[in-house]
């Protein structure tokens, strides 16, 4: 299969959905001739014109709220928020409107919209452009939260997000935009709430998200050389969350490592840990380890930012720690 980047996979999903359905429009800052700050909307303005690819002013509450109103009335808008950090300026529209209308209205209105954004440190952009607080959205009943880790998943999940009748927070990852992988040319969807076992293994379960899926796979390869077989599970959507796949795996391996880039305390990893502590604790042979970002704002200075981030090495260390328990 042809290989394309995560960025191009997203672009293709948008393009195909827009070709197929006039109701799909995209709103955001610099998504037109600029092609989006990360080039995800490149070329779409030329193909679909400024009525459907709408460059907006810096008025996130305004245009995300407009997406809510448009979605309620028959459109399928996609909003781009340049960095997840900026969802804070339109948080009411997300949390109190987009997420809750269907429920508050007794199931009578629908908000089929997608809010695309991205997480991740590593570009030297400091504390207000590098955050990863996706778990907050997953915590909000009413929102679907997608978290693609590969170009294949990026395209399939975004297509599903656009076609799905629920409001979706679509959380991309900055460092993944340039990663490459096989992606079918035709349109396809990946269902929400279905984790993927990216690698099977009997000794330790790694639940990983976003860029850490890749790190987990690398760590698993190395562990394999040491005779340890790690199973790598990518939830793909954080809400709905495919608990069963995780619980089944833990029942098999008896060891759990959660790897996610949100800050550790009160973050994504805590929930995975808590589910297992609640529903599968008797299968555990070891404590549950979380590899997550430190509880600090993201520092600017290159060596500090580097220390803030983690990957294969940290996961290997955790795997070894877990295997130290009989």
């Amino acid at each position: 299969m042809r290989e394309i980047t995560y960025c191009d996979a997203l672009n293709e999903a948008l393009r195909q959905c827009m070709q197929e359905d006039d109701r799909v429009v995209v709103l955001g800052e610099d998504i037109g001739c600029y092609g989006g700050i990360f080039q995800v909307t490149k070329g779409l303005l030329d193909e679909f014109g400024p009525d459907r690819i709408v460059d907006t002013p810096i008025a996130e509450a305004g245009f995300v709220g407009a997406c809510v109103g448009a979605a309620l009335t028959g459109m399928r808008p996609v909003a781009e928020i340049m960095f997840i950090d900026f969802t804070t300026v339109c948080m009411d529209m997300i949390v109190n409107q987009m997420a809750k209308m269907h429920y508050m209205f007794g199931g009578k209105g629908r908000v089929p919209m997608v809010l695309r954004t991205n997480i991740g440190a590593g570009r030297g952009t400091a504390a207000q452009h590098s955050q990863s607080f996706h778990s907050f959205f997953a915590h909000m009943p009413g929102l679907v939260v997608a978290a693609p880790a590969t170009p294949y998943d990026a395209k399939g999940l975004l297509t599903e997000a656009i076609k799905n009748d629920n409001p979706v927070i679509f959380v991309e990852h900055k460092r993944l935009y340039i990663s490459k992988g096989p992606v079918p040319e035709e349109s396809y969807t990946i269902p929400f709430g279905k984790a993927e076992i990216k690698r099977e293994g009997r000794d330790v379960t790694i639940v990983a998200t976003h860029a850490l899926v890749g790190s987990a796979l690398e760590a698993a390869e190395q562990a394999s050389k040491e005779g340890i077989e790690a199973e790598v599970i990518d939830p793909r959507t954080l809400s709905p969350l495919d608990k069963d796949t995780i619980l089944n795996s833990v029942q098999k391996t008896g060891r759990l490592l959660v790897a996610d880039e949100d800050n550790k305390t009160y973050g994504f990893a805590a929930e995975i840990s808590a589910i297992v502590a609640e529903e599968a604790i008797y299968y555990l042979k070891a404590p549950i380890i979380r590899n997550a970002s430190p509880d600090t704002p993201v520092p600017f200075s290159p060596p500090l930012e580097k220390a803030y981030m983690f990957g294969k090495e940290a996961l290997m260390e955790s795997i070894r720690r877990l295997m130290a328990y009989a």
Binding site: V25, G62, V64, G65, V68, G69, A71, L72
Partner: protein
């Protein structure tokens, strides 16, 4: 654009329905039958009635925490509406929304909103949607004077004007936030004066004069439908009761009795009623008949609500997702 006789009577009926409905809520709230927060519209009826009279069934509105008037004026039936305020399964929102979240998609009512200023961007989106879908629909966006201090006002009016969206922004200026008077919220006297900052027309009308509201709204809707963009209409009015039922002494903590009394004398319904009689549009008797019909309909709605079931506890988990 002058309203016909039927339209005049319909304006009266709408205002009176709102008034009598709200008066019934006062009682039901006091008895504990209507729980939660009920923000009543008594005194402001001319705004909702005048604006919604120039909208079609297909047009949209966004409403506020003080939304009963808008919902009635836009045509939702009283029974599901009342049932919603009771939290019953037969309510517009199956009891899940209550007063602050009444919505009725079939009549273009995109929801009351518990967030002050929350409706403005949504209205912009609905208007944008009709532009995208190339329909002729207009969206009327109601919001309070104090809500206009919120950032959403700025972002929404800017976007709507920029894209010449078919939306009419209706500021219901009743002079207060909850307890905070306008002079403590903003240095401007007229919210409508801010329209210039968005290159859109801004008009101030007597919000207790239903015909003035009607006329301004008709003009704004015409402009919107013609693709000429949004208008900001400010309706000066007053709420007679407290911010919500339960606000001590009907808000006398922050307003003088004289002020309240002075506004009661400008009752929009009474004024309109007098005018209609003076202009011989109708008779006292006919109006009395209308009032009776409304009272009866409301009583039926209350009965409907009272007799309806509460949702089953398991329904709590429905409708989170489609």
């Amino acid at each position: 654009m002058d309203p016909t006789k039927d339209q005049l009577i319909s304006l009266y009926r709408t205002m009176q329905t709102i008034r009598l409905f709200e008066e019934r809520i006062v009682d039901l709230y006091a008895r504990g039958e209507v729980p939660g927060l009920a923000h009543l519209y008594i005194g402001e009826e001319a705004v909702a009635a005048g604006v919604c009279a120039v909208l079609t069934d297909d047009d949209y509105i966004t409403s506020t925490h003080r939304g009963h008037g808008h919902v009635i004026a836009k045509g939702t039936e009283l029974e599901p509406m009342m049932a919603e305020l009771f939290g019953k399964k037969t309510g517009c929102c199956k009891g899940k929304g209550g007063s602050m979240h009444i919505a009725d998609m079939d009549r273009g009512i995109l929801g009351a909103n518990g967030i002050a200023g929350g409706g403005l961007p949504i209205a912009v989106g609905a208007a944008w949607s009709s532009k995208w879908r190339a329909t002729n629909q207009v969206t009327a966006c109601f919001f309070g004077d104090d809500s206009s201090s919120n950032g959403t006002f700025h972002e929404s009016l800017n976007l709507a004007s920029l894209h010449k969206l078919p939306v009419v922004f209706v500021c219901e200026n009743n002079g207060y936030g909850i307890s905070v008077c306008q002079a403590k919220c903003t240095p401007v006297t007229d919210v409508a004066s801010r329209a210039v900052a968005y290159e859109m027309p801004g008009v101030v009308v007597d919000g207790n004069n239903v015909l003035e509201v009607y006329e301004a709204a008709a003009k704004a809707v015409k402009r919107a439908r013609a693709g000429e963009g949004p208008t900001l209409i400010e309706c000066k009015t007053y709420r007679w009761r407290g911010h919500h039922e339960g606000d001590p002494n009907q808000g006398a903590r922050y307003r003088t009795k004289e002020e309240i009394q002075a506004w009661k004398e400008k009752c929009p319904i009474e004024r309109f009623r007098k005018k209609m009689l003076k202009d011989r549009i109708t008779t006292k008797k006919s109006l009395g008949k209308i009032d009776d019909d409304i009272s009866e309909a409301i009583s039926e709605a209350v009965k409907f609500a009272q007799e309806s079931d509460f949702p089953a506890v398991e329904e709590m988990y429905d409708d989170i997702y489609v």
